[in-house]
C-alpha cells in the first residue's frame, strides 16, 4: 500500500530524515513513535506531498508522492498537529470549506459532514463558532475535517496534543473504527501509551532514523529480558545486593534496586534463591518493560527528552 524507499530530507540547519525505508500494508494502523524533533512531522509532510524529499521515493497506492502530484492528495487525509481551523467560523462552515477543496459533490459532502459530526459527537454544535469549542472539541473537528473526501490513507500527526482524556478516548475509538472500516492509518506520537493502544505496528524514530520497527511483541523481543525486577531498598535487601547481581545488572534507583536479568534468567530459580536468602517476596515486584524503556535502551535517552 505505502512504500517508503530510503527517503532523506535536510533543512539548512539540520538533517530531518537520514534515510528511511518502510512498507505499510493496507488497513494497517502504523504508529511512528519518537521524541520531539525526531523527524516525525517531516516524515508526515513528505508522505502527504507538502515537501519533496531530497532523495528517495514514496509510493502510495501505486502513485509516486510529490509536491506537484495533486491527484494523490485525494487519496490521503492529513490531520495536522496544529488546530487548522478558522476560529471565527462555525464547525459546519469550516467543514464546508475544507471538504470543498477536494471537489466532492455538494450533496455527498453535505451528507458526509453530517455523518462525521455525528460520529465525533459535534452534531449539536455544528452551527456554533469554533472559538466557543473546548480544546477536545476542536481536536475532533480537526480530525474530521481531514476525512470529508473519504481518503484511503489517513495521516495523523500527533492529533491528541493538549486534549482532555475524554476527548482523547473519543478520538482513539473513532480512529480504531475508521481502521476497522478499511482505512490505512499512520499515526505519529511521542506518547507510548497511544502507540501501544492503537497501533498494530510501531516504528521508533530517533534523529531521522527508524531504529526499531515491528508489532508490540516484536519490539519487546528486542529487550534482553522479559521483565524488570524491582526490589525495595531496605536493610535486608541492601545486604543482598551482591546476591542480586548474580542474576543480572543491579542498579540503585531512588528507593529501590532495579534488576535487569541477564540472558538465561529463569524467574522460578530466582525466587527459589530469594527464599533461601530469607528475603520476603513483598519487597520484590515484577515490571513489564514499556516502549519508553525500549527507547531508553536503544538510544540511551528518554522519549520525553
Amino acid at each position: 500500500m505505502i512504500q517508503i524507499q530510503n527517503i532523506k530530507k535536510s533543512f539548512p540547519s539540520t538533517v530531518a530524515l537520514a534515510g528511511i525505508s518502510l512498507e505499510i500494508r493496507k488497513q494497517e494502523f502504523f504508529g511512528l513513535l519518537g521524541p520531539n524533533g525526531a523527524g516525525k512531522t517531516t516524515f508526515m509532510h513528505l508522505l502527504v506531498g507538502y515537501l519533496n524529499p531530497d532523495s528517495g521515493k514514496i509510493i502510495i497506492d501505486g502513485d509516486v508522492v510529490t509536491q506537484s502530484n495533486l491527484a494523490i492528495r485525494r487519496k490521503i487525509g492529513f490531520v495536522p498537529q496544529s488546530l487548522a481551523l478558522y476560529d471565527e467560523l462555525s464547525a459546519q462552515e469550516n467543514l464546508e470549506i475544507f471538504g470543498g477543496l477536494f471537489d466532492t459533490p455538494k450533496a455527498v459532502l453535505k451528507t458526509r459532514i453530517r455523518e462525521q459530526l455525528e460520529a465525533v459527537g459535534l452534531d449539536e454544535r455544528r452551527k456554533d463558532k469554533v472559538n466557543t469549542f473546548s480544546g477536545g472539541m476542536k481536536r475532533r473537528l480537526n480530525l474530521i475535517a481531514s476525512l470529508l473526501h473519504d481518503p484511503i490513507v489517513l495521516l495523523c500527526d500527533e492529533p491528541t496534543v493538549g486534549v482532555d482524556p475524554q476527548s482523547r478516548n473519543a478520538i482513539f475509538e473513532y480512529l480504531i473504527r475508521l481502521n476497522q472500516e478499511g482505512k490505512t492509518i499512520i499515526y505519529t506520537t511521542h506518547y507510548m501509551e497511544e502507540a501501544e493502544r492503537l497501533c498494530s505496528r510501531i516504528g521508533i524514530i530517533d534523529q531521522g532514523k527508524i531504529i526499531a520497527n515491528g508489532s508490540l511483541d516484536e519490539l519487546f523481543e528486542l529487550f534482553p529480558y522479559e521483565e524488570l525486577i524491582l526490589i525495595t531498598k531496605n536493610p535486608s535487601t541492601t545486604k543482598c545486593r551482591t546476591f542480586f547481581e548474580k542474576f543480572g545488572t543491579c542498579v540503585e534507583v531512588d528507593d529501590h534496586f532495579e534488576l535487569k536479568p541477564s540472558k538465561g534468567f529463569i524467574l522460578s530459580h530466582f525466587f527459589a534463591h530469594v527464599e533461601e536468602q530469607g528475603i520476603s517476596y513483598r519487597w520484590i515486584e515484577l515490571h513489564k518493560p514499556t516502549l519508553e524503556e525500549l527507547f531508553l535502551t536503544l538510544t540511551g535517552r528518554s522519549l520525553r527528552d
Binding site: V48, I76, F78, P80, Y86, S146
Partner: protein, 439 residues
C-alpha cells in the same frame, strides 16, 4: 516598590524585543517627521516648481518686469509654450492657455493682457485662470502672484496717480497736486486725504461708503488699483469641491491599510495550520496566492465603492456622471494596492513585521503621494519620488474622473501606470514568496 521597579524594567525588556513596537514608536515618527520637516521646514517661500502657464501680451515695462521676476522665482515652473498637434512648441494665446489649464497640465495660468497697464489706467489688470483641484496650492499660487504684483504697486501707483492728476487738473496743477499727494500717501497712507483731494479716487471710495473701517476701504482701494480677474476653469459646477478633492487621497490611505492587513492574513493561516491543510489538499501555492490576490482586489474595489457612495450620500460628490471611468480607476488602484500588500507579506517574516513596515510605508506613500498636501510643497527630489507611489497615480486618476470629468483617453496613462506598478510588484512578490517565510 521593588516589585514595581522589577515590573517596570520588565516592560522595557519586552518592549526592546518587540521590534515592531520599537519601529512604530521611534522609527516611523522619525521618518515621517523628516519628510514633513523637509516639506514644511520653511515658509511658503520654500514651495518650489508649481507649474504656472504664462502669457504676456502687454508691451509695458511693468509687464516685462513681472515676467522677469516670475522667471527667476523658484516657486513657479513657468510654462510659456505648449506642444501643438504636430509636436511643435508654440507660444500660448488666450484660448490655448485656458485649454492648457482646463486639461490639467497646469493648475493655474497668469495672463498679462494687452490692456494690462494703459495710459489711462489707474492700476494694473491681470487675468488669472485656475483649476482649484488643490485648494492649498491654488491659494499659495494666488498669494504669490498678488505679492509679486503688489510689489510693483508703489511705482504704478505713483505713475498712474500722476497721470490721472494731470488729466484732471492740467499738467501744472496736476504735478503740484501729485507732489502733495505722493508725499502724504507715502508718509501716512491715509486714504481720507485722497477722498478730499482726488476726484477720481473719491469716486472709488464713494462706492465703499458702506464698508466698515479704513482697512476695509484700503483693501477695496487696492483691489481697484490692481484688478486680478479670476476665472475658475474647472470644478465650478461641483456641489462639494472640498470633499471631491480630498475623497481620493483618504480613500487610498485606508485602502492601503485594509489590503496590507488582508495580505498579512497569510501569516495567520500559516500560524494556525490552515495553510498546511490547504497545501496538503489538491491545491498549489499559486492557487492560494491567486485566491488571496483576487479576494484582496475585490475587497479593495468594494471598499472604494463604499467610500465613494458614502461620499455621494454624505457630501453630494457626483460619482455617477462619470461612473464607468471612476470604476476603471477604482479597479486599477485596487490592483496596485493589492500588489503592494502582497509585496509586504512576501518580504516579511511575521504578520507583525508586515504591519509595522506597512504602517511606515503607507504613511510615507500617502504623504509623498499627495494624499494629505500638494506634492508641489515638496523638494524636487520628493516630487520625483512621489511619482513612484501608487497613491499619486490613483489620486490623480480619481481627480481626473471626479474633478475634471475626464474621459477614458485622459485616464489611460493613470491606469496603465497603476497596472504597470501592479505587474512589477506582483512579479517581485511571486519570486519572493518562493523563497520567503509564508509557505
Amino acid at each position: 516598590m521593588k516589585q514595581v521597579i522589577k515590573l517596570f524594567a520588565k516592560q522595557y525588556r519586552v518592549f526592546r524585543n518587540d521590534k515592531v513596537a520599537v519601529l512604530l514608536t521611534f522609527i516611523v515618527p522619525l521618518i515621517l517627521m523628516s519628510i514633513f520637516g523637509s516639506i514644511f521646514g520653511g515658509s511658503s517661500s520654500s514651495v518650489q516648481g508649481i507649474p504656472l502657464a504664462f502669457l504676456n501680451e502687454s508691451s509695458s515695462p511693468v509687464a516685462l518686469r513681472i515676467e522677469q521676476t516670475l522667471d527667476t522665482m523658484k516657486a513657479f515652473a513657468l510654462i510659456k509654450t505648449y506642444k501643438n498637434d504636430r509636436g511643435e512648441l508654440v507660444k500660448f494665446d488666450t484660448v490655448k492657455i485656458k485649454e492648457y489649464v482646463h486639461s490639467g497640465r497646469a493648475e493655474a495660468a497668469l495672463v498679462l493682457p494687452v490692456d494690462m497697464y494703459s495710459d489711462t489706467s489707474l492700476g494694473l489688470k491681470v487675468k488669472y485662470y485656475y483649476d482649484p483641484k488643490d485648494e492649498i496650492q491654488n491659494q499659495i499660487t494666488q498669494g504669490l502672484i498678488q505679492q509679486l504684483i503688489f510689489r510693483q504697486l508703489p511705482e504704478i501707483f505713483t505713475d498712474a496717480g500722476q497721470r490721472a492728476a494731470e488729466r484732471s487738473l492740467g499738467e501744472a496743477k496736476g504735478k503740484e497736486f501729485y507732489k502733495k499727494l505722493a508725499s502724504l500717501t507715502h508718509t501716512y497712507f491715509h486714504l481720507d486725504t485722497n477722498v478730499i483731494l482726488h476726484p477720481n479716487l473719491n469716486a472709488l471710495f464713494q462706492k465703499d461708503s458702506s464698508s466698515a473701517g479704513d482697512s476695509s476701504r484700503a483693501s477695496k482701494f487696492f483691489e481697484r488699483i490692481v484688478r486680478i480677474e479670476k476665472e475658475q476653469l474647472v470644478g465650478k459646477e461641483l456641489e462639494n469641491p472640498g470633499a471631491t478633492r480630498s475623497v481620493g487621497g483618504w480613500a487610498m490611505t485606508f485602502l492601503l491599510f485594509t489590503l496590507t492587513a488582508a495580505a498579512s492574513s497569510l501569516f495567520d493561516e500559516k500560524k494556525n495550520g490552515v495553510m498546511l491543510r490547504y497545501l496538503t489538499s489538491p491545491l498549489t501555492r499559486v492557487h492560494i496566492l491567486w485566491s488571496k490576490y483576487l479576494f484582496n482586489m475585490s475587497l479593495g474595489i468594494i471598499q472604494l465603492l463604499f467610500l465613494f457612495v458614502a461620499g455621494w450620500i454624505l457630501f453630494h460628490i457626483d460619482i455617477f456622471s462619470n461612473f464607468f471611468n471612476l470604476l476603471l480607476i477604482i479597479i486599477a488602484a485596487s490592483m496596485a494596492c493589492t500588489a503592494f500588500g502582497m509585496l509586504l507579506a512576501a518580504f516579511s517574516a511575521t504578520r507583525q513585521q508586515a504591519q509595522g513596515w506597512g504602517t511606515l510605508l503607507i504613511l510615507m506613500m500617502s504623504s509623498l503621494g499627495g494624499a494629505w498636501f500638494p506634492t508641489s510643497f515638496m523638494p524636487p527630489f520628493f516630487q520625483t519620488v512621489s511619482k513612484l507611489t501608487v497613491v499619486y497615480w490613483s489620486m490623480n486618476g480619481f481627480l481626473e474622473v471626479l474633478w475634471r470629468g475626464s474621459g477614458i483617453t485622459a485616464i489611460i496613462p493613470h491606469i496603465a501606470i497603476l497596472l504597470g506598478i501592479s505587474a512589477v510588484i506582483n512579479f517581485i512578490s511571486v519570486v519572493q514568496f518562493k523563497k520567503g517565510n509564508v509557505f
